[in-house]
């Protein structure tokens, strides 16, 4: 039985100068790389397969299998690209990881590159986190100076160059093929798949694209073994993961736990929903994953259980909303986001998110019409599965799930008086002394 929380990636975050190479090495950092360099690369791929590590960026695809999809070496370059474009609403794990302990990622990059035969790796970090970019640049420089990167790493004959690349503000670049186009200096629009990046990725060469947390988990697997990793979590969702609690919770933050922990357990650690309020709805894995409610408090947060309950584990971005929050307002704002970030390449997403936004705005403003809910559902039905990439699908998730659980609240907006909630009561700085029941008031905003 493992402990409720299992600090692995977070374990050095409270150390003085946690981002420095010396701090990381004093805590055993880079023993994984030294071990890896003595092994056959194919054994490392097998090790990660055996560990059961699945992609921590949302999709949950087995990391080792992804590496294994690379065609046999043909003498040309192969690339590792780290997706550090963390932008999914609610997701806030990779940015603090790279701020507090970028060496976890850099060591993971070195090991993974050795395993897949890559000699030039890229870390694509979103451009809107200046200090994280500074920390990454410094971490890579320190790693070069210590001989963990560069030529003939630790006498192994293995060479690796690492480039840290800043994006410029586009959610879609978190989609792996859009990220590759962006890294090639183009508009960040997704590519038609197949071919998958493993076959034709960066510069049309075999490429592995992995999330920050996935790659940062690799050194621990190499240092402690596949069995160690899979001793945490469930049978099919192995290992440790960062769970990010935010919103109407007493003590929000990062909680590193075995996959399969429940929101009830996490809320207990975080001091519960903010005082005097109760849970209304939450996202298990970011805004693109269908909403959950209080009835899902005991769903084990692993890929299979969350899927069976009708949502997705996603990025374990647990956004908590209490009863003061208008679900229509919340969903309308997420829809603004998808419409804003739609890259425009495919019609269902570009046009569909535009119309979803218009309809949600008028419902929230009290100008909705009878039948609007059905139009929303019909639009979602025409986007889901018909968009070029997952952005369109994600845009429909909060809408269809919120209508499923809160149809009466949508209908309460359609009586001509607008939103029955007072937005001031949802704020962190709310000082309303005695809150009236939300749906009873006739107030609008």
């Amino acid at each position: 039985m493992t402990d409720t929380l299992t600090p692995v990636l977070t374990d050095t975050w409270d150390a003085e100068g946690s981002w420095k190479l010396a701090t990381y090495e004093a805590a055993g950092g880079y023993t994984g790389l030294r071990t890896a360099l003595t092994r056959d690369p194919a054994d490392l791929v097998q090790l990660v397969k055996d560990s059961g590590l699945r992609g921590r960026g949302g999709a949950g695809f087995p990391a080792g299998m992804k590496w294994g999809f690379l065609p046999p070496p043909d003498g040309g370059p192969r690339y590792l690209v780290v997706n550090a474009d963390e932008s999914e609403p609610g997701t806030c794990k990779d940015i603090p990881l790279m701020l507090a302990s970028p060496q976890h990622l850099v060591e993971g990059v070195a090991i993974t590159s050795y395993a897949i035969g890559c000699h030039h790796a890229f870390i694509y970090v979103r451009g809107e986190v200046l200090h994280v970019y500074r920390r990454l640049l410094a971490a890579v420089r320190e790693a070069y100076e210590a001989g963990h990167l560069g030529t003939n790493i630790h006498g192994s004959g293995f060479d690796l160059e690492v480039t840290v690349h800043a994006g410029a503000g586009a959610y879609i670049c978190g989609e792996e093929t859009a990220l590759l186009d962006s890294l090639e200096g183009r508009r960040g629009q997704p590519r038609l798949k197949p071919p998958f990046p493993a076959v034709a990725g960066l510069y049309a060469r075999p490429t592995v694209v992995n999330n920050v947390e996935s790659i940062a988990s690799v050194p621990g697997i190499v240092a402690h073994g596949a069995d160690w990793f899979s001793s945490m979590g469930t049978e099919k969702s192995t290992g440790h993961g960062l769970f990010s609690l935010s919103g109407h919770v007493t003590r929000p933050g990062q909680f590193e736990a075995p996959l399969g922990i429940t929101l009830r357990e996490l809320l207990d650690l975080a001091g519960g929903v903010r005082e005097g309020h109760e849970l209304k709805f939450w996202t298990p894995g970011g805004s693109s994953t269908p909403l959950f409610t209080a009835e899902h408090l005991d769903v084990p947060l692993d890929y299979e259980s969350v899927g069976a309950a009708g949502s997705m584990l996603g990025t374990r971005a647990l956004q908590i909303f209490d009863e003061t929050t208008c679900v229509v307002r919340a969903v309308s704002r997420w829809t603004d986001f998808y419409a804003h970030e739609s890259c425009g390449k495919c019609t269902p997403c570009r046009e569909g998110t535009y119309w979803l936004k218009q309809i949600l705005h008028r419902i929230e403003a009290g100008a909705g019409e009878a039948g609007d809910i059905e139009v929303l559902l019909d639009l979602c039905d025409n986007i889901l599965g018909r968009a070029f990439c997952a952005l369109g699908d994600g845009a429909t998730s909060p809408i269809t799930s919120s209508i499923e659980y809160f149809r009466d609240e949508y209908e309460a907006h359609l009586d001509g008086r607008g939103c029955p909630f007072d937005p001031a009561r949802s704020t962190l700085f709310d000082d309303t002394p005695q809150a009236p029941p939300a749906l009873a008031g006739a107030g609008g905003h």
Partner: protein, 278 residues
């Protein structure tokens, strides 16, 4: 690529000195990539570091550097929100108004700032100091509501704290992010860093704020560890000092660190990790 150096042949309006510096930097950027075209995003950050936005000259410069047309460069520049089409203020003040921050107070903060500064989204104050923006989720939800100043984190803001922040920016005072460098640099300086030119400030500021460490704090308190990494010497006692609460009421905005060590108090150094590799 053009066959000759752009030098005297450049169609940009940059003076010789500026152009020479840009060309040197562009060479450094292009050398980072197997294909120079990959340098376009950093090159656009670079021209913003000189002009304060993606100017016509900047577009022509990028096109000349990469052997592209100005239209092709514009097509890329207009795709990304960080590239500005008009001269930006010295500070971009971005209020997260994505759902979670909006609900937690981001909408109220944006409304207050818009009124306080008398500008709307993507507009700049007449003195050129502040450009106000609504921004999307910036991966700091556990610090909501969040305001970014030149893409440095100002956590757990209120309408009052954000208004005061912009007052200080407009008065030319230094402001200190909650999690970031010791002070916020200008938009142009920031753009140069984003072009990949390190300003040597990585060691400033904290490693983590309170919420980032919340799970670890509890694990330390209860002696919870990952399997096989237990310390032989601990025998049930917490293996590290428990860092004190940062700020009050979980508000890391209360905290204005001045040195790297002014972080989470006497948090243990990389304490007692000898048994890690068993």
């Amino acid at each position: 690529m053009t066959a000759e150096p752009v030098g005297a042949r450049s169609r940009t309006g940059y003076d010789a000195e500026t152009l020479a510096a840009l060309e040197a930097d562009a060479g450094t950027i292009k050398a980072r990539y197997p294909d120079p075209r990959s340098g376009l995003l950093p090159l656009l950050h670079l021209v913003q570091s000189v002009d304060g936005y993606v100017s016509r000259d900047g577009i022509v410069f990028c096109a000349e550097q990469l052997g592209m047309t100005a239209a092709e460069v514009s097509a890329v520049a207009t795709f990304y929100t960080q590239y500005k089409r008009r001269p930006n203020g010295e500070y971009t003040v971005g209020v997260c108004t994505n759902t979670l921050c909006a609900v937690m107070g981001g909408d109220a903060i944006f409304d207050r700032l818009s009124q306080h500064l008398d500008v709307a989204h993507d507009e700049t104050t007449p003195d050129g100091s502040v450009t106000l923006e609504r921004v999307e989720c910036n991966a700091a939800c556990d610090y909501a509501p969040v305001v970014m100043v030149n893409w440095e984190f100002f956590d757990n803001q209120t309408p009052d704290s954000a208004a005061e922040l912009t007052d200080r920016l407009r008065a030319g005072e230094q402001v200190t992010p909650t999690r970031g460098a010791d002070s916020v640099c200008s938009f142009k300086t920031m753009s140069r860093v984003l072009a990949g030119f390190d300003d040597g400030r990585a060691d400033e500021g904290v490693g983590a704020g309170g919420p980032t460490l919340e799970g670890l704090r509890i694990a330390r308190e209860r002696g919870w560890t990952a399997p096989g990494t237990d310390q032989p010497e601990i025998s049930g006692t917490p293996r590290a000092e428990v860092p004190p609460e940062t700020g009050t009421g979980q508000s890391s905005a209360e905290r204005k660190p001045t040195t790297p060590s002014d972080d989470t108090g006497p948090a243990g150094p990389a304490d007692a990790k000898e048994g890690d590799d068993d």
